[in-house]
């Protein structure tokens, strides 16, 4: 592991510890699946830019820690099974 204390701290912006913030921390809209409409085609799984789509027994769902709320899944879903809902203020 690189020990960042071995170099001057005003030299160059680097980070050696993972940032605890996840995309879900600043999401403004969350995707919600209508399980009755979901046919498990996996189009949402293919398109999700942060790979937050999780496979369930009969439908797909989202890991809301990493989902950034971009809505690409809702736009691409051929069944119109995903709706975007505003997060509580």
């Amino acid at each position: 592991m690189f020990d960042a204390t071995t170099i001057p701290n005003d030299l160059c912006p680097i980070a050696t510890k993972p940032n605890p913030m996840l995309p879900g921390d600043w999401r403004s809209m969350r995707p919600v699946v209508d399980r009755a409409k979901c046919v498990k085609c996996a189009v949402c799984w293919l398109y999700c830019p942060v790979q937050c789509v999780v496979e369930k027994a009969a439908w797909f769902d989202f890991n809301l820690k990493t989902c950034k709320g971009c809505g690409i899944c809702a736009t691409e879903c051929p069944q119109r099974a995903i709706g975007m809902v505003e997060e509580a203020a």
Binding site: I7, D10, L11, C12, P13, I14, A15, T16
Partner: protein, 407 residues
């Protein structure tokens, strides 16, 4: 310059572009990325030939444009490679986004700017407008006077850029047309001696793309909250400190070069015939040769005129310049480019700022010439000397003088 050829040196005749390519070969560069542009093209052709001939064991990447040139080299440098490219004018403009990022990453890239005037008007000829336009981005900039100085400075640039107190990308600037294609006698130093001078490559000790040292390069920094503002200021101040450190390192590296290779180039500024000078002219780049001839002729007539050439332009050697000019009563500064916002030359602008460090006010005037390949002759410098002498007598400064206006 040199009186005696070092035993293992070779004499060649070459132009400035070939001299730069020889320097890159002698510096044992690992990665070259290039896109051709006039008047730089022959430089990268020489490099491609050196690599094809096996003289230089570098990888060359012919990318689709200058933006990728510098992006490739940033990655290579982060992976530990000594890197090189050359560009100018519109190519430098297309490179601007990664060009801005390089100094903050403290990557010691070396890049030649074969200086060219900028568009518009459409022009493919020399002028310092391109290099001067990027003077505040954070790269170091040194301007060469001769073909030999191009070769020597390009090698020295690696030692300066890679110095741990500096760690900044460096531009070696040589004048398009006049130096790029002007052939001259040139001493080629011995490979082993150059390798001993440069020492071990050590370019990514502080920031790296390396599975053994996992790190995020350039994470989001700044903003209005938390530790953001102070962290951002810390990096900015660190970069300013590294830039100022370069004044000392450039001086030391030039001195060591002189000791090892017998050629003593002035590192920051060169004072030429300044002993007892009543007034001075200032130059930058290849124009200096003609200016020195004009000063010699004026001195022969009994005129008390001297010359100060600026070699290191970034960081600007403000104190050295103020000291050199402290005894004169007037200064005429000749630029090969334009500061549009100030209606004068950029070197003039920097010089009058530096003269704040002088004990008394020194009247100064801006002269602009040699734009877009125009020649700056001994005759032009006779005009500069005559006008500056008048300024020394009456102290009345005037608007910028455009030297080629009536050619």
């Amino acid at each position: 310059m040199s009186a005696v050829l070092k035993p293992k040196s070779k004499l060649i005749v070459c132009d400035g572009n070939e001299a730069a390519a020889w320097a890159v070969s002698l510096a044992d560069v690992d990665m070259v990325a290039v896109y051709p542009i006039t008047p730089q093209s022959s430089l990268v052709e020489y490099l491609a030939k050196f690599i094809a001939d096996g003289r230089l064991g570098a990888e060359i990447v012919d990318v689709e444009g200058e933006h990728s040139v510098l992006s490739v080299l940033q990655g290579a440098c982060l992976a530990g490679a000594r890197t090189y490219t050359a560009s100018c004018g519109p190519g430098l403009a297309f490179m601007f986004e990664p060009y801005m990022r390089t100094p903050g990453l403290r990557l010691p890239l070396v890049m030649t700017i074969v200086t060219r005037d900028t568009l518009t008007p459409q022009s493919v000829w020399g002028g310092h407008q391109d290099a001067m336009s990027v003077r505040e981005v954070g790269w170091l900039q040194m301007y060469c006077e001769s073909v030999q100085e191009v070769l020597d400075t390009t090698i020295m640039a690696y030692k300066i850029a890679e110095h741990h107190d500096v760690m900044l990308p460096t531009n070696v600037c040589h004048d398009g047309n006049y130096l790029s294609f002007g052939a001259a006698r040139c001493e080629l130093p011995d490979q082993d001696e150059v390798s001993a001078f440069l020492g071990k490559k050590d370019v990514n000790w502080h920031v790296a793309l390396d599975p053994q040292r996992p790190m995020a390069v350039d994470p989001l920094t700044g903003g209005a909250g938390g530790p953001g503002p102070s962290t951002f200021v810390r990096y900015r101040k660190g970069q300013c400190a590294g830039t100022q450190n370069a004044l000392k390192v450039i001086t030391e590296v030039h001195a060591e070069w002189g000791r090892r290779f017998g050629r003593h180039h002035a590192p920051l500024i060169e004072s030429y015939r300044m002993e007892g000078a009543d007034y001075a002219i200032m130059t930058i780049g290849s124009m200096t040769g003609a200016a020195k001839d004009a000063v010699d002729a004026a001195r022969a007539r009994g005129e008390k005129v001297g010359l100060v050439k600026v070699k290191t332009y970034r960081p600007f050697p403000a104190q050295a310049l103020a000291d050199a000019l402290a005894g004169v009563r007037a200064v005429g500064v000749v630029d090969r480019s334009v500061s549009f916002g100030w209606n004068c030359g950029p070197l003039f602008q920097d010089s009058i700022t530096a003269m704040q460090y002088a004990p008394k006010r020194i009247p100064a005037m801006s002269f602009i010439g040699g734009l877009a390949g125009a020649d700056l002759t001994v005759g032009h410098f006779e005009q500069v000397i005559a006008r500056t002498k008048e300024l020394a007598r009456d102290g009345h400064t005037a608007e910028t003088v455009w030297l080629n206006e009536k050619d």
